[in-house]
Symmetry: C2
Subunit: 503 residues, 2 copies
């Protein structure tokens, strides 16, 4: 009886915390979409107020007391029961929060915010020297944080843990090493193939209103419910889960290139569908929350690439696209399909194709890990970056802005995040093959326009599970198999082998 | 020294409270502009969380202790010093907050929210009987609140006090009674005049984009700074002061009638200019806050009517309006000016003209006062309403929806608010004549397009004062004279006498 009361207290306590966090989400969303220029200083003050509340709530000693009652009771006997799942994740986050002294937490927040501002100013000026002191400060603090959080020798694990519960650098390294050779082999074949996409056919003067109309139609077809979300504009597309029934995505338009807005909107819709599929009655608890960034990215990357860059998808939608974008009328479906799947080593991660994207991630993972291991220092990064680029992608950036300074992540303290992207691709491919086993050819499913069945499948296997399983257990429960990078290799080899008529 | 420390504590404490309140403002703004349909339940939960924080903060006993230190010190010797002003208003709000038991505060919030929902459902169905129980509950609770807050026999005073610090029902009654006869006399003359506006000339198919372009231009001319605010759409136009540098207005468009969006946008801009003119270094304290709803309405109503419905204003802008709204090309400036100033008794307050508007307010004031005095009960309201309408405006509503149920105020517990509108007109007219004394003919100022000087005048006299003076003292400081309703009579008689060629 005591344990039940303690659990009820924890449930209400964490739900209230989640409400504060969802308020923070709205402030953040507004800051990136509609906030007037002169409102930023006050917004920072509002966010600091909420950060203070959240930090105090996350380390309240009463959490520890109450958790103890629950953990010593029958309630957690079945580790997959809702109570056990919540207790497990509450314990994880509480333990982590308590290990960080308040002073360090404040420093981390401030340095991350200052670092991101410094990056925003320095990058356009290609000013590595101006940015470096900020990066050094961040790396120092993240090393300190990692050392306080770590339970083993690999301090980097503690940073990964924030985004990927239960994941380890060594295990990621094994997965990534398995990808390297087949990816390079495939890339060489593609670059040597006779078939060459002509991406100029995607360009043309395309009014934003036409793009918006087409995107709105596509999102409705794949299941983005406007009663439960919105789409707005922002400089960098993102998804914001403000609450049940309120998940918002953003996109940005290029008047000369419709596909950037389209694919990024579909990517964000993948995140939103995950959010909408989480069990609403468990809102505000781990059982009702997304389990990791890799699982989140598995959803967004699957929709962006495996669905929206598939041949079936465009068999369904190409004639409609031609009606919206008149310059496509003269372009054959095959040429279009090849163009949206161009593989070409590029300096910029966010513009990379499905094949090279993972190489961008793997090199960032290796660099981050070396940084936290103190094998390299921040001022070694430009050289190390260029070496890796040359080794993995065969190109070298001409400046810092398109090289080591291209991503926002490190500047804002998000060290340990990058691996989630490639892990997301690995998870996605495994789910893709399992879904095909259950539903038949997905290309045919997409061509038929029956996205609902696919969403229902994902909902059942992934979304509705919340944080019931850790990510690796989730994929095992969903597919009956350990996480296996071979599926990604198989997916890419098959798709691009056919597209580029290799062998 | 002790008092200084106490004051510093109060300053930081109330600023933090103001930050929470500004977060609440953003949630409220979003709810009325962009919130997806299915996000309302969660938004209510977020708002309840913030209401809990605010209520707890507003009644913290430490406020009383600290205030005592300040009040017994030299800091408050000069009642117009910032410290004294803040202490005075902190004391007022703290005393009020402490008089309301938590249970009643919760009940009031819930009943107001439920009452507003019930009103939203019942009004379109003309369902007075369905709405009545909600109204009865609200009136009961407001009577209880008023009795707890009241310091004299007139409990209604305590409700007015929430919107008009220092104001009293009896003094308002004196002002309003002075208006009644001249207003009726003027109205009779106007209705008997030969000149008749033809408002059909204002109608025409007017694309929203053309309206938006014109409104954006006008607002820029009168000084609405987009770096410090935004304009969005909402069902009912409103202004939201989210923070310094972030004050947002809304409007709504009618495709057949451009003037509703235009005048409501200018009305809200009046509120926004007040907000932007408050002293930013005092943000989050009474010294930096608007002093009352009547002063707020004096600003919005002045811009909407005395400025934007003036002949000078349209001498400035009519040719531009004709370029945006082609159907005006065949209409003479005189006919246009007469049409936007049509005086006609209407059932609906929000559609009333400058002359009859005050009559709508006076009857609501009298009904509210009778309700709180228990001279009438909620179920007497429809009959009482129709009697007053007949007496003051000579028309009787054919149904509840266009009669006693037309306004949202009572349903949401805002009893005591209505008088602020007509008080606002009285304040505005007195300021208008004083400004003309200082600046010369305002009609000529508006025709010259020099709105900046007028804004600066208002800023100096009103905006920059914050809550330094109570409203009646503010008008005395600004104009050198007690609040005097004769100015409003003079303004209306002069403007409409000329317009309708009376006498």
């Amino acid at each position: 009886m005591h344990a039940k009361k303690a659990y009820a207290w924890l449930l209400e306590y964490f739900r209230e915390t989640a409400r504060y966090d969802s308020i923070r989400q709205l402030l953040d969303w507004d800051q990136r979409t509609f906030l007037p220029k002169d409102g930023h200083a006050h917004r920072a003050a509002q966010l600091a107020t909420l950060a203070g509340v959240l930090s105090k709530r996350n380390t309240d000693p009463k959490i520890g007391e109450m958790l103890g009652e629950v953990e010593n009771s029958k309630m957690v006997r079945d580790p997959l029961a809702d109570e056990a799942v919540n207790a497990r994740e509450w314990r994880r986050s509480y333990t982590r929060a308590c290990k960080i002294p308040e002073q360090l937490a404040v420093e981390l927040t401030r340095s991350a915010s200052e670092g991101e501002s410094a990056w925003q100013e320095s990058k356009p000026r290609n000013d590595w020297d101006g940015f470096l002191p900020h990066l050094e400060r961040i790396v120092d603090l993240k090393r300190e944080e990692a050392s306080l959080l770590a339970s083993g020798d690999e301090f980097y694990d503690a940073l990964i843990e924030e985004f990927e519960p239960g994941e380890r650098a060594e295990r990621i390294d094994v997965l990534f090493k398995k990808l390297l050779e087949p990816l390079h082999e495939l890339l060489d074949k593609i670059l040597g193939a006779e078939k060459r996409p002509d991406t100029s056919i995607l360009r043309g003067n395309i009014p934003v209103s036409a793009q918006e109309a087409f995107i709105t139609h596509i999102l409705a077809c794949i299941g983005f419910d406007r009663a439960r979300g919105r789409m707005d504009l922002s400089a960098h597309p993102f998804t914001s889960a403000i609450g049940p029934g309120d998940i918002r995505i953003t996109t940005r338009y290029d008047e000369n290139f419709f596909s950037s807005a389209l694919f990024s909107a579909i990517h964000e819709t993948g995140h939103a569908l995950y959010g909408h599929g989480l069990p609403e009655k468990h809102w505000g608890t781990p059982r009702g929350s997304a389990v990791s960034m890799a699982i989140h990215e598995s959803q967004s990357l699957m929709w962006e690439n495996m669905v929206a860059r598939s041949s079936g998808f465009w068999k369904r939608f190409y004639s409609e696209a031609q009606k919206h974008f008149h310059h496509l009328e003269a372009i054959s479906p095959d040429d279009f399909y090849l163009a949206i799947n161009e593989v070409r080593p590029d300096l910029i991660r966010t513009e990379a194709d499905e094949v090279t994207y993972n190489l961008h991630i793997i090199m960032r993972f290796e660099l981050e890990r070396a940084l936290i291991r103190r094998e390299i220092e921040p001022d070694d990064l430009p050289e190390a970056w260029n070496e890796k680029m040359s080794e993995y992608l065969g190109i070298v950036p001409p400046d810092f802005a398109s090289g080591v300074m291209q991503d926002v992540h490190w500047s804002g303290g998000a060290i340990g995040y990058f691996p989630s992207y490639a892990l997301g691709n690995i998870y996605a491919a495994q789910l893709y093959f399992k879904a095909a086993e259950d539903m038949g050819s997905l290309d045919q499913v997409f061509e038929s326009g029956n996205f609902q069945d696919f969403v229902i499948w994902l909902r059942r296997k992934i979304h509705s599970q919340g944080s019931r399983y850790l990510p690796r257990d989730l994929i095992k429960a969903a597919t009956g198999e350990e996480l296996n990078p071979d599926y990604l290799v198989r997916y890419l080899t098959s798709k691009y082998g056919e597209l580029y008529a290799i062998d």
